[in-house]
């Protein structure tokens, strides 16, 4: 016990004397939580549209007005040459081209039908897709207005129609930040837990202090505990700072209980600390540990369901996310924070992450050798 106590004492002293780690612990969450959620936004706005008006009628102008009045579109070019509009797309000034052919109004009135042409810049796939959908719905809307103007709708629809109205549960305003902040917080906790711990242990190898420790009668489990506990505590501190920031700046107050979040975090941190320990047993220098950490982190973030929905991934990637502990914590965070899930609801997640913890730590401990 006395040995463990002095190990912890030493570790905390070193952490508090290292300005880089302190900055990392306190400034990283602030920046990541305050800046990233604002930048990482799914909603596509400010789609630049070029309108090729070859009709110059009141209807074509009405449609153009309707489009530019929407908050999604910026009218950047209004011209009567399709080639000119396409040139703007090539210069990346416009994302969407809408061509209103000549006789648009005439055809609409006389022939009860007219055609429009839409060209999308698909370099940014998401933008093109959503832009097309938005534009289509604006045109549909316009269509309805025109019809109203020209014919009296019968009192009852001649064909049965289904009208849909929807409500967004758990995040009624579809506030993107409510969705992102808990996820980013998970990434933060993971980084501290896994990678600071790995770097710390490898540092001892690199500067040779581990040699001096290894010749003492210190037991393997004491050394490992002495390394894990400080970062376990740090991880929980980061989580607390993060939850506090989320509350102050985004007004995110978990629907569920803090106890559930912390209980899961405690177990989750054990799993990622095991990962950190494992990385440290396979690396000799901080540089190696850093590079591996980068790689693992990338996989974790991209296949963890933080930015991209897991359900839309291909099957193999979905299977892969099952082996990613980050996935579970992000899910749990969103469940507890947004939905108010209880411990009972997250029992499977808890069980799986416990499994990760046992597996990773056992592997790491077996691989950790005091001598070569």
């Amino acid at each position: 016990m006395r040995t463990l106590k002095i190990l912890l004492e030493k570790e905390f002293r070193q952490i508090f004397r290292n300005p880089a780690i302190l900055r990392l612990i306190f400034i990283m969450p602030i920046i990541q939580l305050l800046v990233l959620p604002l930048a990482a936004d799914y909603e596509v706005r400010d789609i630049n549209i070029a309108v090729v008006d070859q009709d110059h009628s009141s209807y074509s102008r009405k449609l153009t007005d309707k489009i530019s009045a929407s908050k999604y579109f910026n009218l950047v070019v209004y011209t009567n040459s399709y080639n000119e509009a396409i040139r703007e797309v090539e210069k990346d000034n416009a994302d969407v081209v809408l061509q209103i052919p000549s006789f648009f109004e005439k055809n609409l009135v006389k022939e009860d039908g007219a055609q429009l042409f839409m060209a999308l810049n698909a370099i940014n796939g998401v933008k093109a897709n959503l832009g097309g959908v938005y534009l289509r719905s604006i045109i549909n809307d316009f269509n309805g207005e025109v019809r109203l103007e020209w014919m009296q709708l019968p009192r009852f629809n001649p064909q049965p129609m289904i009208k849909i109205s929807s409500i967004n549960w758990f995040n009624p305003l579809l506030n993107y930040q409510f969705f992102m902040v808990p996820g980013i917080l998970v990434i933060l906790v993971t980084m501290v837990g896994a990678f600071l711990a790995a770097l710390n242990i490898v540092k001892e190898k690199e500067i040779g202090t581990i040699e001096q420790i290894n010749v003492t009668p210190i037991r393997k489990h004491q050394f490992i505990l002495g390394k894990l506990i400080p970062f376990w505590v740090l991880g929980l501190v980061i989580l607390s700072i993060g939850l506090l920031l989320a509350r102050i700046f985004y007004g995110i107050i978990p629907e569920g209980s803090f106890l559930t979040v912390y209980l899961f975090a405690v177990v989750y941190l054990l799993a990622v600390l095991g990962l950190g320990l494992l990385i440290s047993t396979y690396t000799e220098t901080q540089q190696q540990a850093m590079l591996i950490s980068f790689f693992v982190m990338m996989v974790f973030i991209l296949l963890g369901g933080l930015y991209t929905s897991i359900d839309s991934m291909p099957m193999w990637a979905q299977i892969f996310t099952k082996f990613n502990p980050v996935t579970y914590f992000i899910e749990v965070m969103r469940m507890v924070v947004l939905k108010g899930s209880s411990l009972y609801d997250i029992r499977h997640h808890l069980l799986i992450v416990t499994g990760f913890g046992i597996f990773l730590n056992t592997w790491a401990v077996i691989n950790y050798k005091k001598r070569s």
Partner: protein, 307 residues
């Protein structure tokens, strides 16, 4: 009573890519209790590897070793309790203070500074004025003393020092050896490695190592006495030309530069020195002086290397 350190046909190799490096080849030696034993050899001779095996940090491929009567592989736990090891590279926590480092290592060994204060006093008093200073901010000599204090804090029975004086100035080196002598008087067995041949004379016995092999083990005196031939020191105005002329002379066996002199031996045991002198003067060497000298450890090392 059994010896403090015993190695029997220890063999260790490293795999580096496709080539195999023999770090230690058939090393056997014994260190008596209370002895100050030196491992002398250039960089890459295998001294550190041998230390790492004896301090249970590494396992030998073949052979066996005992420290303080305990076998290094099966009884490593016992050994870790009773040896002190000071690696060649400063391996204490630079961001902890002197005091914190000492109490940290004392606790790991289950003791305290107070308990063993008398034991480490001689060394610790020299760094005590700086006890609040971080180890990283100490001078080289001070770091060395701190490392020694940490290695001694648990009253080890055997102390392993890996190149403790490398990179330390001449005065601190002398002080350091004085400290080792006083530790020896307290009954500790000390095994020390050094690349400096002049330090060999300060040891009770030395082992000369080269390329993973022990070339000879004896007292420093015993080693110099084994030097097979008379040895001469020669000096002249143009030392470079002198070496060239001597080495091309068939009567000369070896010629090595040693400080301001060249040390030479002759093929014939009773080589007449006048004839050599005469040849050299004929070749235009000025200020020529030759005198017979006692061989040093370094001469012996060179001699053994050429065997």
């Amino acid at each position: 009573m059994e010896s403090a350190v015993k190695a029997e046909r220890v063999y260790k190799n490293f795999q580096s890519g496709k080539t195999e490096i023999e770090a230690l080849n058939n090393i056997s030696f014994e260190v008596e209790r209370g002895e100050l034993f030196g491992l002398i050899g250039p960089d890459g001779a295998g001294k550190t590897t041998l230390f790492r095996i004896l301090t249970t940090l590494m396992i030998a491929n073949k052979g066996n070793a005992w420290v303080d009567g305990f076998e290094v592989v099966s009884q490593y736990k016992e050994i870790r309790k009773r040896v002190g090891y000071m690696p060649g590279r400063f391996s204490l926590y630079q961001d902890l203070s002197v005091e914190e480092n000492i109490s940290f290592f004392a606790t790991l060994f289950g003791t305290t500074l107070e308990e063993n204060y008398e034991f480490v006093k001689d060394i610790y008093v020299q760094i005590e004025p700086f006890k609040k200073r971080r180890a990283g901010a100490l001078s080289g000599g001070m770091k060395q003393k701190l490392a020694l204090s940490c290695a001694l804090i648990h009253r080890p029975s055997v102390l392993f020092l890996d190149e403790p004086t490398t990179g330390v100035d001449a005065v601190s080196r002398q002080e350091f050896w004085d400290l080792l002598k006083s530790l020896q008087h307290q009954g500790i067995t000390i095994v020390v490695s050094t690349p400096y041949m002049d330090e060999a004379n300060l040891c009770d016995r030395v082992a000369l190592m080269q390329n993973g092999k022990i070339m000879d083990i004896d007292t420093p005196k015993g080693i110099t006495q084994k030097f097979p031939k008379p040895l001469w020191a020669i000096i002249a105005a143009d030392m470079y030309k002198l070496m060239h002329d001597l080495r091309s002379d068939e009567r000369v066996d070896t010629c090595y530069p040693f400080g301001q002199y060249h040390h030479i031996t002759f093929t014939e045991l009773n080589q007449e020195i006048q004839s050599i002198e005469k040849t050299l003067v004929e070749k235009g060497h000025a200020d020529l002086s030759i005198q017979k000298i006692e061989p040093t450890i370094e001469d012996c090392f060179m001699e053994l290397m050429n065997k």
